[in-house]
Amino acid sequence: MRTYFDGVELDAIFHSIRDMPIVLVATPNYEERSIGFSQWFLHTCHSQKIDPAKIFAQFLWPQGTSSRVDLLEKLKISQIDKLSEQLQYCAWTRSVFSYPDDFNERQVIDLIHEATNKFSDEPFSLIIDISCMPRRVIVSVCDAVVEKIRCVDKAVRPLVFFVYASPKKYAAMRYAQNIGNVKGYFSGRPIHNCPSDHVTALIFASLQGYEGKVLYDEVRSRIRSSVTTFVAVSGADYQTSLATMRANQFLMEQRDIDVSYYFSLMDGMEKLAKRIEAEGLVGGGSGLSRMVLVAPFGPKVFTLGAYFMLSNLRSVNDSIQTEIAHVSGFQYLSLYSLGLSHFNVFKLCVEI
């Protein structure tokens, strides 16, 4: 079973990168956790006397027009202002791109290449904080990482870390806006347009729950389907787990849905890897076209897991169509999360 990631301790980043140049990518927004890692990391670089010339920080700055909320924009700017002290110690840039309207994934890929090209003739470490990165952007960032790894010589391949900051708590959810279709990130099409007869859906339950229900209804319309729901049971925050379970009660009630509990992000990754690997071993012969679909509606790290595990599944069994599902056009009119609890660091371990 391969998760393509090693869960590593925070301090292990510094142990691994030693004297390498560092590219830090983050997406500050109105949530406190969005700058937490950048603050800690740049502060630690300074206290460990890492040469500032070897550090470059790139802040991806999604900028919407139609769905812009001025109050949240103001909070977003004040978050990056809080980083001003740490930003004295390194070169940095703020890279604006259109999101969610007029989103162009190539724009994000090019921005990542622009940042990483600064250290193209030596091995470097690429640290990507996905805590507040929209899932769709995470997929583009993964595309950029894969392109980068493929195009450089093995000797200078970057060491890639993904960071996810868990919040202290989630804000009271307000009102769902613009709930759209279930779409696939890989194809960019609504899932109901995907022609597969047999769909295996692996759903990570979300805090609000409705996405899973929408997807379940869609998947059940196929000739054959199997659905697994992964439900977080957090050792440290059972109240949030309970809220998630209650929000996803519909999925948990369905006898044709297999429910699997995970106790940490890495445990969720391992359980997802087991299911995807098992799909790769299923032979053809039924005459039905198959699709394996991961719906990472829960924590964002599962978008990373889904991306790399599904890519591998395609490479071992090209008759299987794969997708990462998302519900398009959804916006919160709330802060979404409050405070910062702890950082989860995942080192990418993949031969591409």
Binding site: G235, R246, M252, Y261, Y262, E270
Partner: protein
């Protein structure tokens, strides 16, 4: 508004979100039944329990019942693979290596070891060359003691002892660590045995549990690093003056729940129940909030005594709780664990000599 014969206050039901919570638990239990309830639905059991309580306390009982933390066997089983991965990661080894390098022990013999191995897909559970059969501290101490007392070589015991001490890690498994007293006692005995028999090996003891409470962690287990899957803190405790309790929306619901628990413990059929004499004595109080004032609403496949008695207590014709418990201890008979350990420690020089470790 009625529920069985119980009169309900709509404003209270709304404030405490009773309908949604009860429906959720009902559905959870339909899918993953609470076996000791023998197929009766949760709603029916709750309605039945309520009718046996004084009318003025019924709504508080309903609030308690609907705030149960229901941990079915399926959920707990999945925690074993997480726990093995977590320990292996913390030790910097693979899960496979963890099982090759560990001796497994369990606190109260209840079949945790086979489940732990099964859930982690470890083959050869019964191979005595891989897994020592000395799977509790009592067995370990008793076998050391027997080697010391016997004139002949007990081959099975010697092999089991050598195998256990050859492993660098001893995983002490437990399902629930709520008050933590049993685990703390086993850990202390384990530690003393290893000190006395350090010439055989000095394994590192790792307490492992599916469910841990923050109170146990910060008191009796404070000197140990316990690996756990789920940890519950004061938010989930129904105790007098617990400002951190987040189970209820209204403060007066907690006060009402406290009155209910106090009333329950004051009833003769509870306080004078012979089956509880030993447990009450060990608890050191009237157990209004459960064993050792747990105050928990946690329900595992056999509701623990540390949870509120109104959740698990059952007495024919008087009260039947929604989550009846099958008692694991009913007599005052104490185990001989401490004596066995002391005997094994005092016999250590002789045993080590017999094993050829010292001259």
């Amino acid at each position: 508004m009625h529920f069985g014969n119980v009169e309900l206050d709509a404003a209270f039901i709304d404030a405490e979100d009773i309908v949604a919570k009860l429906h959720f638990l009902d559905q959870m239990e339909r899918r993953w039944p609470y076996n000791p309830a023998k197929g009766v639905s949760l709603s029916e059991r709750v309605a039945c329990s309520l009718t046996q309580l004084p009318p003025e306390l019924q709504q508080f009982a309903l609030a308690v019942f609907t705030n149960v933390i229901y941990l079915p066997d399926t959920l707990l089983r999945e925690s074993w693979s997480y726990l093995a991965s977590k320990i292996a990661r913390d030790l910097g080894i693979t899960v496979c290596n963890l099982f090759e390098q560990s001796h497994l022990l369990e606190v109260d013999p209840s079949g945790l070891i086979p489940t732990f191995l099964h859930e982690n897909k470890v083959h050869g559970r019964l191979d005595t060359d891989h897994f020592s059969r000395l799977q509790s501290i009592d067995e370990l101490a008793n076998n050391l003691r027997l080697i010391g007392l016997s004139d002949k070589q007990e081959e099975g015991s010697v092999h089991g002892i050598r195998l256990a001490f050859s492993r660098p890690f001893w995983l002490l498994l437990s399902d629930n660590v709520l008050s933590g007293t049993s685990v703390a006692s086993d850990l202390s005995r384990c530690d003393r045995l290893i000190n006395a028999y350090s010439k055989l090996g000095t394994p590192k003891i790792i307490p492992v549990t599916q469910v841990l409470t923050s109170s146990a962690e910060s008191s009796v287990l404070s000197s140990w690093t316990t690996t756990f899957a789920l940890r519950f803190d004061k938010q989930f405790q129904v105790l007098p003056g617990n400002e951190d309790c987040s189970l209820f929306s209204r403060r007066d619901t907690l006060d009402g729940a406290i009155r209910l628990c106090d009333w329950f413990a004051s009833q003769d059929w509870f306080s004078k129940d012979d089956r509880l004499t030993a447990t009450l004595q060990k608890s050191g109080d009237n157990m209004a909030y459960g064993y050792k004032r747990g105050g928990w609403t946690i329900v595992t496949p056999n509701c623990p005594t540390n949870s509120l008695p109104i959740l698990w207590y059952e007495r024919e014709g008087v009260y039947k709780a929604p989550f009846p418990r099958i008692m694991s201890r009913t007599s005052q008979m104490k185990g001989h664990g401490e004596e066995l350990t002391e005997d094994a420690i005092s016999l250590a020089p002789r045993v080590l000599k017999k094993l050829g470790v010292v001259d």
